[in-house]
Each structure stands twice: as structure tokens, then as C-alpha cells.
Symmetry: C2
Subunit: 156 residues, 2 copies
């Protein structure tokens, strides 16, 4: 209890499911503004602080390696990412952002942030903090259950 206003209380399951849909729709809108899909946007987000191999990308995105080939092909064709031969493993390939890819990811991320700020502007600072912490806790619980890396920062 104790929270702002008059929102209809669905149970926690419906509330979280709906929340995930509106957040995805929001992200999708900002991605579309850069003519990108959500999965391409996630790719840019993952590469923000990493230069993974194709194999590692497959694990991070939970996709088949053949899907990664296509994904990276299309991103590379648009100049957003670059394949570079791995110095150590000669049959591994590392993927990294180009400056354009970094800028594009930032634009999407910034727009998304603004929308989240707008959607949470009627919450008190305490409520925002609680929401943030509770969301992180749930994410960590999922991460613990499965093999996730929590450090992913998957937004954009």
C-alpha cells in the first residue's frame, strides 16, 4: 500500500507483465526512431562496455549463433558495429561498436530515459528508489535462477 493515487490493482503478475509490455513498446518506439529493432538496440547496449565474440553474443542474447551472424551482418552493413579478428584465438571474431553505433545507442537510450522519467514523475523520491530497488531485486532473483550475467545493462 501507501503509494500514489488511484491505479487499478491487478495482481503482481499482471502488473509486471503489463509493465514489461509498455516498457518494450516505449523502447521499440525510440529504436524505430533510429530505424532499429529492439534486438539491434540490445546489441548496441551490450557492446557499450564489451567486445564479445560471436559465441559470447549468442549467450548474452540467448540466440543461436546463426542468428547472431545475421544480426551482426545487418548492423555491420549499417555501419553500427565492426567485426575484428581476435588477436589470440585466430578463429574467434570480436564485435565492437563503431562511433556511429555508440552515438545511435545513446540517442535511443536518452529518449527512453526521458520517457521513464516522465512515467515516474508523480512518484516520490522514496517510491522511485523503492521501485528501482525492487526491480533490481527481481532481476537478480531471475539471474540467480538461470545463468545470467547481471552486469548486462541491457537497455540500449
Amino acid at each position: 500500500m501507501s503509494v500514489a493515487g488511484e491505479s487499478p490493482d491487478l495482481g503482481i503478475v499482471d502488473a509486471l507483465a503489463q509493465l514489461s509490455f509498455v516498457l518494450q513498446a516505449t523502447l521499440s518506439r525510440h529504436a524505430a526512431g533510429q530505424d532499429l529493432s529492439i534486438i539491434q538496440t540490445r546489441l548496441l547496449g551490450i557492446l557499450r562496455d564489451r567486445e564479445p565474440t560471436m559465441q559470447e553474443l549468442a549467450r548474452l542474447l540467448e540466440l543461436d549463433k546463426s542468428s547472431i551472424t545475421g544480426l551482426v551482418d545487418r548492423a555491420e552493413k549499417r555501419g553500427l558495429v565492426q567485426r575484428t579478428p581476435s588477436t589470440d584465438d585466430r578463429h574467434a571474431i570480436r564485435v565492437k561498436l563503431t562511433p556511429l553505433g555508440r552515438r545511435t545507442g545513446l540517442v535511443i537510450r536518452t529518449g527512453f530515459q526521458a520517457d521513464v522519467a516522465e512515467a515516474t514523475k508523480d512518484l516520490s523520491d522514496t517510491e522511485k528508489s523503492d521501485l528501482s530497488t525492487l526491480a533490481s531485486t527481481v532481476v537478480s532473483a531471475y539471474a540467480a535462477k538461470r545463468g545470467y550475467t547481471t552486469s548486462t545493462k541491457n537497455s540500449s
Copy 2:
């Protein structure tokens, strides 16, 4: 503050974005268990308490009407939904669940619920309630901003 444990605090933006990704991944896994996609699962969820026209489905799912044609085609071919002529408008078509569609949606929903319960099991009742309420509040804020119907119950 004041919440369970030791989760790393990303800001609210990253926390919500990550939450939406893990929830979508969870839903996707349960949908895949029934050999369905997320969008097919959303279709089943929307039809749980409605018999919309194709046009209304396009609005509810925010997709082009031609996309709805294909979506409903594939669902109908699998026996999950049924097209019925609208009694009043003779060129409108209503879509409704078949018993199989209803059962399939329920299986996915139940599995998803179990996962959410598992992921929130370390939260106190108050924390669960707060999370639910805060999530609903954010969803309502989005709904108010755009033209959404909050009553969608979009999970499964």
C-alpha cells in the same frame, strides 16, 4: 531504500529495462513450451475476455491490420482462435478463442505466474504489494500519456 538484500543498484532506467527483458524472456520461454511466440500469446491473452474485430485487434496490439490477418491466420490454422462473422456489421469479423486456445493460454499464464512467484519469493508481503502498486502506477502513467486501454491484462 528498505528492501531485501544485496542487489546492485542500477538506476531506475536500467532496473526497469532489465526487468522488462527478463520478464519477456520468461514469458517467451513458457510460450515456446507451447510452440508459440510472444505475440501469439498476447493474442490469446487479449481474447480471454473479448471478441474484438480485426480492426480492434490491430489497435490493441498496435500492429497494422495486414499483420493481424497473418497473425490470426496462423492462430486459426492451429485451432487456437476462430473467425466469426459479426452479426451487426456484415463486413466486420470477430475473433474469439477456441477451447484449445483458452487452455493453451492458461498453461502459459500459469507457468509465467509460477516464475514470477519464484522470483519474488524473497520479498515481504509489503514489498510485493508495493512493487505491484508501483508497477501499476507506471503502467497507468504510460496509459494516460498515450491512448491505451489499461484493462488489457496483456500477460497471456
